[in-house]
Each structure stands twice: as structure tokens, then as C-alpha cells.
Amino acid sequence: MKRWTALALAGFIMALIVIAVPAQAKPKIIWQPKKISDEVIRGTSRTITVTFEASARLEHLTVRVVPELQAFLTVAPSSFVEVTSGIPVSIDLLINVPSETPTGVYDGTVQVRSGMGQNSPTLARPLPIEITVVASLPDGLPPDPGDEGKQTLEGIDSDQDGIRDDVQRFIALEFPDSEATRSALTQYALAFQEALIDADSKEASLTHATAVMRAIECIFVIRTEEDAEDIAEEFVSVVVNTEERLDAYLTHDRQLGGEIFPGAIPGDEESSCAFDLSSQAG
């Protein structure tokens, strides 16, 4: 009996040691964003900046692209002498799609490896990458306004559809496979643009805030909770991208203090979408 008690005690102590010595746990890599999903036109290139954090101090790391993506994806920098725990490290993903690349979806990962050799171990977790290669831009998409689109509060709306060209392009290029998501974000963009322009008016701000609320509810109808949250949050960073727009956005938001905004009726949230949801794919 005493022997069993001693064994149990030893086991318990071992368990405590395992719990109390987290330094022995394998170091982990946390990416931001958690995944990359992008659409690229054949014969063009683009750069996406991502960051990662390590859960422990690490030395001699290499960043490797899996073979499935190596034809058009490189990373810079691709090696690190040292990475400090908890400090974000930036990496540029350089996507260069040759014009002869077949259209389609290409899946793979970018891995951080401990050591410089070919067989050095991969640290969890790799960054999932999904690149959709397309032949051309969607019809009717306006050109990228670049910095010129940031010179005024209103921005550039070359096709006069009520949505800034840069925002219109974001919606079309980020969500090529979901018509419903594009419609919901278009609804969001229209209300958002009006909110920025009319920020000095309390009455107008209340009207636009109600419209914004319906649009966000619509996104939650279409997408999963986690997706909807990320999409709605990222969209703010796309629309509010200059100090002038920041001031307008926060002035608008300040107008809403003390007010009540009723939510959609449970069971009838589809009515928050200003379009016929049943006719749209995705």
C-alpha cells in the first residue's frame, strides 16, 4: 500500500514539474493575420506584410515557403539570427505571378523553422496561404486611386456609385467568391461614407449610424461570427485610412453618445440586409 502511495506521490510531483516548467514546452509562432487569402491577377505582383511573434527567445530561424507556392511566392527576410519572445517581427510576402500561370486557387503555408538546415524542424504553427490567380479584374472595377485617393475626406469615386474607388476595389478583390458579402459590404460602405461626410450633423449621424448598424447585422447574417467580426473590423481600417477621415469618423461616433439603437428583431435579421439575400451566392 505504501508502495502505491509513493508511486502516486511521485506521479503527482512529476505532473507538478511538467506544469511548473513551461519553459520546456515547445516554442510557438503566432501569426498576424492568422491566414492570408488573396486574389492576384496573372502577370502582376504585390507585397503583403505580415508579422509573427515567438512564445520564447529563439535563435537561427529560417522562413520557408512550401513547394506548392514557391513558383510565385518569396519572403523577405528569410532568416533571423535571433527573435525575442513577444516582440512582433515583420515579414514581406512577395507575390509575383507569371503571366503563364494557370488560373485557380493555390494553397500552402509559410513555415518558421528552427535552424538553417534543410531538415530543421518546423515550429507550430505555419501561416496558411491561399492565393487565387485570376486572368483579369472583375468587370467595371475602377483603377486604384493610390495616394490621390487620400487627399480629401470624400476621396475619389470615379464611377459615381457612392463608394470610394479604393473601398470598391477592396470589396471586389477581397471577396471575389461571395456575392452576398460584397453586397453587405457595399451596403456598409454607402452608410459609412455618408457618416464621414455628415459627421458634424447630429441628426444625420443618427440616421447613418442606424444604417451602419443594419449593415453590420447583415454581415453577421451572412458570415460566421468570427469571420463577420474580422471583416467588419478590417473594413473600418480600409475606410478610415487618413487623419482627416479619422477625425470625421470619431466626430460622427461622438454624436451617438447617450442614444439608443434598437437591434434587428431576433428571427428576422435577414431584413437588415438591403438586398434580396436569397438571390445571392456565397
Binding site: L190, E194, V238, L250, D253, G258, I260, I265
Partner: protein, 415 residues
């Protein structure tokens, strides 16, 4: 440009349009969803770093979590509204987020998009950002909510709901707790009013409501070190939460994050709070349009509504072709209440006014209007009572305009 603005306005109007006739044929015989009665209203009250848009996301997450936790029948009797709190950290400043941006903009090379990505925790938060966030949060205390007119507006909505027979639960996050706590003693039947507190920087929860503060909440811990006020943490989400959200404080990103212990506890607290509140008797009616007047200790202020059909509904003419004044009060405080059923809604203007009928001192009328999915509260100063002489010319407060049709849906505005 005018054409474009008109188009945008039309689309914006369309999205506040709500069908009173159900488009789903399988439910054609049921009550239109917008006319269905709720038994409880759950409000989300934001903190000062939370924009209205972020608060909408919080409301949606609350809604989703409660839908998963409750039987369909119980969930269908809930309604989810926002009680938006002010977001100014200091006198004369636009917004706490502006203060935060000014503090850290050099560190992010004035990249405004990056600022919002960091706020959304989609990009790691630099240490300087964390420090600025904590400092600004700690500078905001309960004094801002004392005698704040924002609180009075929220309380008008809470009281009107309880008078109409609905329980009210406020889920308040961070500094939103200051406003919710100030509200509690002002709610007349607060046995039907509950607060579920999250990340509370205050030293109590109004009415003794439940609260959730996680051990990993760096912001509340920081405030506790400075003021000693916050209630102690009572739950852990585990330190891994700090990898994605180093402040451990966000309502959406931490407390209601899927799969966390805090999400389970908060939703349990909401359900338990609803169950524990007294079911209020419906003392006033409510409909697709509801207008409720309250005031102070002076004896008599009257509510007047001029309907689209021309009828003048007030104490001497309680029934209009469209709506009904179901409560006339002559013994101080109110409420007086007018409502329109879905079946008798008319297009056109419902003009709302008040007449200070009898009293000896200046008075302030509070008029709360709900029309479709709009909810507004107005304050009207009344210098002196004018008696029946004011019956035909009440002081205008606001106009509710209804356009559209039963078949295509109605659009409401309140101006």
C-alpha cells in the same frame, strides 16, 4: 452630386425599412416580426474606447451566445439594443480614441489604418500602445456619469420598457459600468432592471448585479493599482489569451471570445439575471409607434399627437383612427403614453407635442419615441404652465414620419 446623394439617401432609407408583412409564405399568418412583443430587452453599454460600430459587433456576439444558450422559444422573446455611452476622455476633446491616436501616432508612423488594425487586435499591439491605453482608461472615472444627460436618455428607455411589461438587462463593459451604475437608482421599478457587469472599473455593480473580471485584464489591474476601486477579478481565461490580446480587456476580443470561460460566465449571468428579475405588469401599451412622456414633480404635463389623418389625440380625445392615448396622468411624473398598432399604422406625419397644463414651477418634459427600429428621447424645457390655452398649440417636440406601404415595407424617421 445631388443625384448621387439622393441615391445614397434612398439606399440608406431602404435599410431602415422593415416589412410589416412577412415575406416568408410559411409564416404569412403569424404576427409580423417587428410587431412581435419582447419580454426582455438586453442592452449592451460600451466603454469609452468602443465605437458604436464595435458595440454593434458586441451586441451581435451577445445575441449569438444567448441564442446558443437558450431554447428557441425563450430566445425569441428577447430583443437586443445598444445603449451607447459617450466616448470623450476629456473636456473639449473629440474622442478617447483620438487621444490614444495622438499619443502613439509617432510609433505607428501616423498610419491610421494600422491604428484600427491594432485596435481590432488583427495586428499585434505595441507596448507603447498598451501603456497609452491603460493610462487613458485610468484617467476616466465615475464622475463623468454623474448628472450626465446621456444617463437620463437611457433611463427614459429603460423605464418605458418596464412600464410596457418588459424586463431590462444592461450588459455593461468597462467604463460603460459607470453609466449603468448611475442608471440603477433612477430606474423607477428597478426590481425589473438588472446589470451584468464586465471588466468593471467601478467599486460596485448597481443593484448588486453579477460581474466578470478576468485575472488577465491588465487594464483593470492597472486601474486597481492606482485607485484601488475595481472589484477583484473572479475568473481566469488562461494566459494564452494574452498572446492575441495583450491587454486582456476587450469585450469582443477577450470577454466574449468564442470558447472562453468568460463568455460562458457572462451568458450564464445574463440568463440568471433575466430569471431573477420581477416580471413587470404592463401599465402602458406599445406598438409599432410608441410615445411616452414623463416629467418631474409638477402635477400635470400633457402629451399631444396629431395623426396623419388629422386627428388630435390628447386627454380630451383619447382615441384616434390610428393610435390611442392609453394613459393620462395628472399626479406628477407621468407617464402619459400613446401607441399605434401595426394594423392601424398610417403613412404620413405623427406630430408630437407637449403642453404644460398645471404646475407652479418650471418643468422638463422627457419624451421617448420608438418607431420601427428607431428609438429617440427628447428633453423639452417648460417655463410655465399655460392651462387649456395650450391644448390647441402644444409645444412641438418631434415628428415621426412614415412612408412606404404594408406590402413594400414602411420607412420611419424621427426628426
Amino acid at each position: 452630386m445631388k443625384t448621387k446623394r439622393k441615391l445614397v439617401t434612398l439606399i440608406a432609407a431602404a435599410i431602415v425599412t422593415f416589412w410589416l408583412s412577412d415575406v416568408n409564405p410559411t409564416r404569412a399568418q403569424e404576427e409580423p416580426p417587428l410587431c412581435a412583443e419582447a419580454s426582455t430587452v438586453v442592452y449592451f453599454g460600451n466603454g469609452v474606447f468602443t465605437t458604436q460600430q464595435k458595440a454593434v459587433i458586441g451586441k451581435q456576439k451577445l445575441r449569438n451566445a444567448l441564442q446558443a444558450a437558450l431554447p428557441e422559444e425563450e430566445f425569441s422573446r428577447l430583443r437586443f439594443d445598444l445603449a451607447v455611452n459617450q466616448t470623450g476622455c476629456s473636456e473639449g476633446r473629440v474622442h478617447c480614441l483620438k487621444d490614444l491616436y495622438e499619443t502613439i501616432k509617432q510609433d505607428i508612423q501616423t498610419d491610421v489604418s494600422l491604428f484600427f488594425l491594432i485596435l481590432a487586435r488583427l495586428v499585434p499591439m505595441p507596448e507603447s500602445f498598451q501603456d497609452a491605453f491603460k493610462e487613458l482608461a485610468a484617467a476616466f472615472d465615475a464622475s463623468v456619469a454623474v448628472s450626465n444627460p446621456d444617463v437620463a436618455r437611457h433611463v427614459a428607455a429603460y423605464n418605458a420598457n418596464i412600464d410596457a411589461g418588459r424586463k431590462v438587462v444592461v450588459v455593461s463593459h468597462s467604463q460603460g459600468n459607470f453609466f449603468a451604475n448611475q442608471s440603477f437608482p433612477l430606474v423607477i421599478k428597478n426590481e425589473s432592471f438588472g446589470i451584468v457587469s464586465v471588466a468593471n472599473p467601478d467599486s460596485f455593480v448597481g443593484g448588486g448585479g453579477s460581474y466578470t473580471t478576468i485575472d488577465e485584464d491588465i487594464v483593470i489591474n492597472f486601474i486597481a493599482d492606482i485607485t484601488g476601486n475595481p472589484l477583484p477579478s473572479n475568473l481566469s481565461n488562461g494566459i494564452l489569451i494574452l498572446l492575441s490580446e495583450p491587454l486582456g480587456h476587450g469585450f469582443n476580443e477577450v470577454y466574449l471570445k468564442g470558447g472562453t470561460a468568460s463568455r460562458g460566465k457572462i451568458i450564464g449571468d445574463v440568463v440568471n439575471t433575466i430569471d431573477s428579475l420581477v416580471d413587470p405588469n404592463a401599465e402602458i401599451g406599445s406598438g409599432i409607434i410608441t410615445v411616452t412622456l414623463t416629467w418631474g414633480a409638477e402635477p400635470d404635463v400633457d402629451l399631444h399627437v396629431f395623426e396623419p389623418n388629422g386627428a388630435h389625440v390628447y386627454y380630451a380625445n383619447l382615441n384616434g383612427p390610428s393610435g390611442f392615448l392609453d394613459r393620462d396622468d395628472i399626479t406628477s411624473f407621468g407617464p402619459e403614453n400613446y401607441f399605434v398598432d401595426c394594423a392601424t399604422l398610417e403613412t404620413g406625419s405623427y406630430s408630437v407635442g407637449v403642453n404644460y397644463f398645471f404646475g407652479n414651477n418650471p418643468e422638463t418634459a422627457t419624451v421617448r419615441m420608438r418607431a420601427g427600429l428607431l428609438d429617440r428621447t427628447f428633453f423639452q424645457f417648460l417655463a410655465a404652465a399655460v392651462g387649456p390655452a395650450g391644448d390647441n398649440s402644444p409645444i412641438p417636440v418631434a415628428v415621426i414620419t412614415v412612408t412606404g406601404s404594408q406590402e413594400e415595407g414602411f420607412v420611419f424617421t424621427i426628426n
